[in-house]
């Protein structure tokens, strides 16, 4: 990452989100960014993948909700998880809390990510994963679908298993990261 971005590479929204012009954002009407969130180049956010509903039926139109102070590094992918329910393949909304860092090249298909979560680079967060607050996911981790990661965990490996606990100061540490 160069220290100084070329001018105008980022679009800044009213709430202070910075979205790279080189990122791929689909279905932006279904994406909520909390504010002060940075989306780097080559990120893909699939807001177009939302719940399939019968025509005429109203559904919540949020596919991806991202909190404040999040950072999506280069080439990361946010994709709402999908599965077959009652014979129809449908996508489910993805919710991401505040102070979440997603490292380079990571693919996130989680259902819920809490606040203060650090996802290192080259990780795969499987479908419908629930990651609670204060979690660090080490580089190259592959978290199996439908996993639940409790708070104050360090997750590593393929498949990702909890390998350590974070200290009580995890919030402070992950806030800065």
């Amino acid at each position: 990452m160069p220290p100084k971005q070329t001018k105008g590479e980022y679009i800044e929204t009213d709430t202070g989100n910075k979205v790279s012009r080189k990122s791929v954002i689909l279905g932006s009407q279904n994406i909520i960014l909390g504010g002060k969130t940075i989306i780097q180049a080559d990120c893909t956010i699939r807001g177009d993948l939302r719940r399939t509903v019968a025509p005429g039926q109203q559904s919540g139109n949020v596919a991806i909700a991202v909190g404040r102070y999040c950072f999506l590094s280069r080439s990361s992918v946010l994709r709402p998880p999908g599965k077959i329910a009652r014979g129809i393949y449908s996508y489910y909304p993805m919710k991401i809390g505040d102070h979440v860092f997603v490292g380079e090249g990571s693919v996130v298909e989680a259902a819920l990510i809490g606040s203060y979560v650090h996802i290192s680079k080259d990780c795969v967060i499987g479908k419908f994963t629930i990651i609670k607050d204060c979690v660090r996911i080490e580089e190259g981790t592959v978290i199996a679908p439908n996993s639940v990661i409790p708070s104050f965990s360090v997750v590593s490996g393929r498949p990702g298993v909890v390998v350590a606990e974070l200290p009580e100061t995890a919030v402070e540490g992950l806030e800065r990261a």
Partner: protein, 616 residues
Amino acid sequence: MVFPTIHISCPCADSISITPKPAKKKSRSHKAAEEEESEEEERFDPRSARSNFSLFPLESLLYCEDCNQIRCPRCVHDEIVCYFCPSCLFEVPSSAIKSDGNRCTRNCFSCPICFASLVVASTRDDQSGPYVLLCPHCHWSSSEIGIEFEKPTSITTQLAQKLKTVSTPSVTPAPSAPSDSYFPTISITPTISLPPNDAPRAPPTTAEMYQRLKVHYASQRASTGTDEFGSSNALSRLIGLYSSTSLTVGGPKPRSFSGGSGISKPLIGRDRKSEWSEMDHTLEIQNEDTTIAQLRKQGFAGTTSTAQRLNQGVPGPLFTQDVRPLAVLLRTKRSKRCRACRHILVKPESKVTTTRFRIKLVAMNYIPSLSISRLDPGSVSYNSLTPLTTHQFLLTVTNPLFDAINVTLATPQRTPGRFGTTVTILCPDFEVGANSDIWDEALGTGDAATGGKNTRKGKKTGNTGTVWDAGRNWTTVVIEIVPPLLPSEYTTDEAGGKDSPTEDDYLVQVPVSVRVEYETDVEREDGLGKEVKERREHTYWSVLGLGRIGKFGAPTTPLAVGTGGPVDVLGALGPSGVGLGRSSTYNVAKVGSSPPIVAGMVGMGVAGGLGKRNLK
């Protein structure tokens, strides 16, 4: 290893003051300070064998306000607040922990092959039964071991029933020969040779040893009867304590896994008597022929790894067809107490899903934090510091307290170890502003304005005795190191010789004593009286891991200059010469580019310059 690293030493190893309660706080702290002063004379050696266990990153340290001491994970007591399942996040009452074998009794299972959490999946397209436990990661299915469920709920009870009735293709009773139990991989290595029949008996398994011990104690108890020491009571209580847990030896879920698997079978019994006899009986059976036959049939792909086996209990199954889905182990939330004064340092909220703490006394909020960066970023990587060259680092001290602090840094001139690195802190004594409100500074009011005197503002000159830069609650000083030339760099063949440096010798670890002094308002417990200022001080050792010594990149430079020579010159000449050497602007601070004034430094400068170029 990622450099730079900063660790703080907890002195608990030296002064395990597990006294009931310090008699007088103030006098004790004074005394402690004096002791510490005397201790400071003897330097902290980051390479000593004990240091490994006393060094922690600041984040994992706690702070006891009563003892005015850092508390590391070693000198706190953990107390379990609640148990919960990490998979379903339900709290488990502590009364159920023991009977459930510390595992979740809901539908939480982990894969016996890859340890991911299993999901209940239907085997039909229409989502109807039968159901299996399926691993979403490695696609292991409980149908592989012949277990399917009629309904997708209450898997635990269903599984328990299944395991009672299921007939696995080959139930190998006590599948491991005794010698395999500890290092079970031995038995599946291709070069295994069967021990001859008259071979000495292999060491007993854990379960066997437990049984022997139990028999021993039982006989002892019988012989002593009720003696005056009351030991028989204690013994029987102990045995009672363990005999219930001994059930768990055989399998992860003894209560529900009874009978089905050959492993847990011997240990299961409604009454202890039958458990005993079965135990003794099954351990005698060591049918290696069936094991070998099965190994021939299944190949190595059908065998379990050490991790898989250990996860299944002791002794684990040898073949993947004998593994069982594992109920998820529970996790705990714990509060922490100071060992010396029993005060609570950390107390989390008892609700499982919250991350808040009722009490959280962490060292981050009490002692200044250190951070390290290179003064000339990008020129040399931390992993290859050029020997005999001056490397400059910026050491930033950040004050978390609401009072301005005086910081005194002390470091040995040469780091401990066989190949010492010369260290110079250009400004060892400085002030760090209070951690006041950011707005105070912005608005020009409050303590911060007075604290941020112009003299303290950074001039980035790097002259001796002045700080490099300072802000609201942080101050940066320059620290210089000259790594030694390791003998392996100039001796070609002497591998394994006494002088050849070990891996540790390549690391530059600088012990720095940080002494903090400040005046603070005393919190009066009665809430009355005038404000009293109390002078406090705190000293701790930290170890800066500044990098790894790299190759000496310039063979043309005079190698005759020993490690000691230029180092001493530099040390004696001191930072004035260095300061002059760095009078050029810092972002082009290549040592070789400035006019060196010492002969010794010429060589070093050239060496440094060349080294850098070579590295590029």
